[in-house]
């Protein structure tokens, strides 16, 4: 892991998490032997609570950064799809990683429509069993909420049939509580890493989040709680001088496990990433309130959280995504925003200009970066990020910083 952002005191639990990740494929294979179904899911709205309550093993599918998988995927889907989508088609087609050969079913919600197409393509070409969860574009309207409730009921019934298990209130309640605790722990870690003398970097938190895509959720919570306890015992690194590095917030398209190009560039050039609102990062763990152990309450809870950018919202003055982004920038004391968009990721790309304008007006320097998983754009991105960080440093100096 290349990074200029380091912490002098390392939390030992991090290594335990890494080890657990190493052991996880064998554990899942054993669970399959015992009759548990392994359900991979993609996008933003698939409630893991349902999968857990049905005794399935949930895996959040999708890696990034591998150019070869992109090429393979493009043979089945289109070169006009974003690289993540192409890469995941390649991943699911190749089945050479530790997890995809274990999948019994792929559950996909239709927030990003390219990912919905991905599900159709891998079902047809690679014979994956799939379950689709529709997501309303009119998500703020009462009829949209009702549609999503019905859709989640139908999706649950499909999964009940597939797993051969009945959803019970008790199991759903346990799953809701478990995931609520995980979310709470992750939110705390995000806040912790943004502190001046933290013994954990954003990059490590991001790695921990991604570990949670695969680990047994109960074991994951135990490890998170262990980490939280350990962090309280670690000494403060007095040699660290806060404020030397520009505090960068990452927004925009998702960064999946393995997609580290931009992260490496920012950190190599002396930027300190201190937060994100990526849906493979913090965003998935924010603001989900499930009021009761029912499918309808889950539907309401998922729909009411900060919306995925693929869902249109027409009144900018009440757009909770923008509002939340501004809140997070304040909370994490961001000095600059890098908006990352994957080529052909329309929801984020089309919004980038508007977001830039709004954040510029709110006083945040903003850099828009488009990337693919190819290595050919590294130097071009490096130049842009370097110039941007230079500008932020100068701005901080003028403002009386370091």
């Amino acid at each position: 892991m290349s990074s200029s952002v380091t912490t002098a005191v390392k939390a030992a639990t991090l290594d335990k998490i890494r080890q657990a990740l190493q052991d996880r494929p064998a554990q899942i294979a054993a669970a399959k032997q015992r009759g548990q179904k392994v359900i991979g899911w993609l996008n933003y709205f698939v409630p893991e609570e349902i999968l857990l309550a049905l005794d399935a093993v949930p895996i959040r599918v999708g890696t990034g950064g591998d150019e070869q998988l992109v090429d393979i995927g493009a043979r089945y889907i289109s070169t006009k799809n974003c690289v993540f989508v192409r890469s995941v088609v390649g991943l699911l087609g190749e089945k050479k990683d530790a997890y995809t050969p274990l999948l019994d079913l792929l559950a996909v919600d239709a927030s990003c429509l390219q990912v919905f197409r991905l599900a159709e393509v891998v079902k047809y070409y690679f014979k994956y069993e799939t379950a689709i969860l529709g997501v309303p574009r009119s998500f703020a309207a009462p009829e949209g909420r009702e549609y999503f409730r019905q859709e989640l009921r139908s999706f649950t019934a499909e999964l009940e049939k597939f797993t051969g298990r009945q959803l019970t209130e008790a199991k759903l309640n346990s799953a809701i509580e478990l995931l609520a605790k995980i979310r709470e722990a992750l939110r705390y870690l995000y806040e912790y890493q943004a502190q001046d003398y933290a013994n954990l970097s954003w990059r490590e938190v991001f790695e921990i989040v991604h570990a949670g895509f695969y680990l047994d959720r109960a074991e994951y919570l135990k490890l998170l709680q262990e980490l939280l306890a350990e962090l309280k015992t670690l000494p403060v690194d007095k040699n660290k001088i806060p404020g030397l590095q520009p505090r960068v917030f990452l927004t925009g398209s998702q960064l999946s496990p393995g997609d580290v190009k931009l992260i490496n560039i920012i950190e190599d050039l002396g930027g300190q990433i201190i937060g994100d609102d990526l849906w493979t990062g913090l965003s998935s763990y924010l603001d989900i309130q499930v009021a009761a152990p029912t499918v309808d309450a889950l539907a309401d809870g998922y729909l009411a959280r900060v919306p995925h950018a693929a869902l249109p919202y027409l009144d900018i003055s009440t757009d909770s995504r923008i509002k939340k982004l501004k809140e997070l920038l304040q909370k994490f004391r961001a000095q600059a925003v890098i908006d990352h968009t994957l080529r052909y990721c329309d929801p984020y790309t089309f919004k980038a200009g508007e977001t830039k304008d709004i954040l510029n007006n709110a006083g945040f320097p903003f850099l828009e970066i488009h990337t693919e998983y190819a290595s050919s754009d590294i130097e071009a991105i490096r130049t842009r990020v370097e110039a941007f960080l230079e500008l932020v440093r100068t701005r901080n100096d003028v403002a009386g910083g370091i």
Partner: protein, 463 residues
């Protein structure tokens, strides 16, 4: 040395016969005589819209050479007068609504609006300035397209131009209210771009729930949103819209859908194609888009049916169609090949999944009209899950006796291209017909389109 453009003209020799066909009546009660249509097409329009009469260039929207197909002349009249009719309607308080291609228009007209798909918005915007030749028209269109790309993204398909035309008030669109997620993923994001610094223009979305088959609640959801849509339009038109109003509009538009189905079946039944590709492809467009006026359009479709029936009966072939022309079925996103160049290469276009889909479903006329509309749009074959859509496409390919399938898409269209290979593979497996993909990168251009034309011609050569 300036190159003189070849100019298309309607010959005086057809005038007397054309006059016999009578004029057109419009939805607002006004009428135009055949003499006035003739005068417009031969004197006024060539002066005001010279680009439309360019016979030498590769204009994808050029007028048909089949001057003996008189309903085709009336279609040309509707197309070329669209600008005047839209400005007049707008000035009279009729709300102009930007929508999506391929959706039902019944609620829009029932509520007193005029819906326009992005292609028509762009046509209107380009025609605001008159007297342009084809090259000047292209330049005007590209300037608008670039405005959109600069504001939004270069990764959008060419419909970004229509949004730019609205955002920059080049044309007075009163409401943006498309259906979403049917056929296009860009539309929702493009509508959203109007929320910033354009607060004054109302917007409304009708969600199209994918994964819709076999679920009664998807109809409830869409029906509820259609009710909201009608209210939103009626706020602007000040029209009282009852269920009966909508039912009457459904009946009227079913007439158009039925006529389109009948004409297509007639055309397919003929040994020799009775209309050329330009005229044939205009039929589903007319029945689904109405060029801003359902009343006049239905008349044109009625006359089209009569003329096609006559031609089929007498073995008359459409002008420009080669003997033993190879038959090409078109799939994909909202773009098609240049019909003239296809015919030059010895082929004829026999079908198109996109437009045929929305004409293939009649809306039930009794009962709750909102629910009926919802059920109809949710069953459009083009919008079904891809495997089901491909099965329907394969049936169309068989019925149209196509020799090959052309999957075309616009640069930036990631929702349709993603299933291009899958549809082609399924259709190939079920019909044994070859297929090819053509990406159209020359967005909004009528010149320098050789890249896509060459690929189409090579495919025709191969079949």
């Amino acid at each position: 040395m300036a190159v003189k453009e070849k100019v298309f003209q309607y010959p005086e020799t057809i005038k007397a016969d054309f006059i016999q066909t009578g004029g057109l009546r419009f939805s607002d009660g006004s009428e135009v005589s055949a003499e006035e249509i003739w005068q417009f097409l031969t004197v006024e329009a060539p002066r005001r819209f010279p680009h439309a009469f360019d016979a030498s260039a590769n204009s994808i929207g050029r007028l048909s050479d089949d001057v003996h197909f008189f309903a085709g002349l009336k279609r040309a009249y509707l197309t070329l007068t669209m600008k005047d009719r839209l400005f007049k309607a707008h000035d009279n308080g009729v709300p102009i609504v930007m929508i999506q291609g391929g959706q039902t228009l019944d609620p829009y007209y029932a509520a007193g609006g005029i819906p326009l798909r992005p292609g028509y918005v762009m046509q209107w915007a380009r025609d605001v300035q008159e007297g342009l030749n084809l090259r000047q028209l292209d330049a005007a269109g590209l300037e608008i397209l670039e405005k959109g790309r600069r504001k939004i993204s270069i990764e959008a398909c060419n419909q970004v131009a229509a949004h730019a035309a609205v955002a920059n008030n080049i044309v007075p669109v009163d409401l943006i209210a498309p259906y979403l997620c049917l056929r296009c993923s860009d539309m929702s994001f493009l509508v959203e771009t109007h929320r910033y610094k354009e607060d004054q223009r109302p917007k409304y979305l009708v969600d199209f729930p994918i994964n819709q088959t076999g679920k009664h609640y998807t109809s409830d959801y869409v029906a509820e949103q259609l009710r909201g849509l009608v209210k939103e339009i009626a706020k602007l038109s000040k029209k009282e819209v009852t269920d009966e109003t909508l039912r009457r509009e459904i009946q009227r538009q079913n007439k158009a859908r039925r006529l389109a189905q009948e004409i297509i079946e007639l055309w397919w039944s003929a040994e020799q194609p009775p209309l050329n590709s330009t005229d044939f492809f205009s039929i589903p467009f007319l029945a689904n888009d109405f060029v801003g006026d359902p009343e006049a359009t239905i008349q044109v479709l009625t006359e089209t049916k009569k003329e096609v029936a006559y031609r089929v009966e007498h073995g008359i072939k459409g002008t420009g169609v080669a003997d033993k022309a190879k038959r090409v079925f078109v799939c994909g996103s909202c773009v098609g090949p240049n019909a003239t160049s296809v015919e030059r290469a010895g082929a004829v276009l026999v079908g198109r999944d996109d437009n045929f889909s929305c004409n293939s479903v009649l809306v039930k006329e009794d009962g709750d009209p909102y629910r009926n509309l919802a059920e109809a749009i949710l069953s459009f074959p083009y919008e079904l899950p891809t495997e089901q859509r491909a099965d329907w496409t394969a049936e169309m390919v068989k019925k149209s006796r196509a020799d090959g399938v052309l999957f075309m898409y616009n640069w930036g269209c990631n929702y349709q291209t993603s299933v291009g290979r899958m549809i082609s593979d399924i259709v190939k497996e079920k019909t044994g017909k070859p297929s090819t993909f053509v990406e159209v990168g020359e967005l909004g251009r009528t010149e320098a389109t050789e890249q896509s034309e060459n690929r189409v011609e090579a495919f025709i050569e191969m079949i």
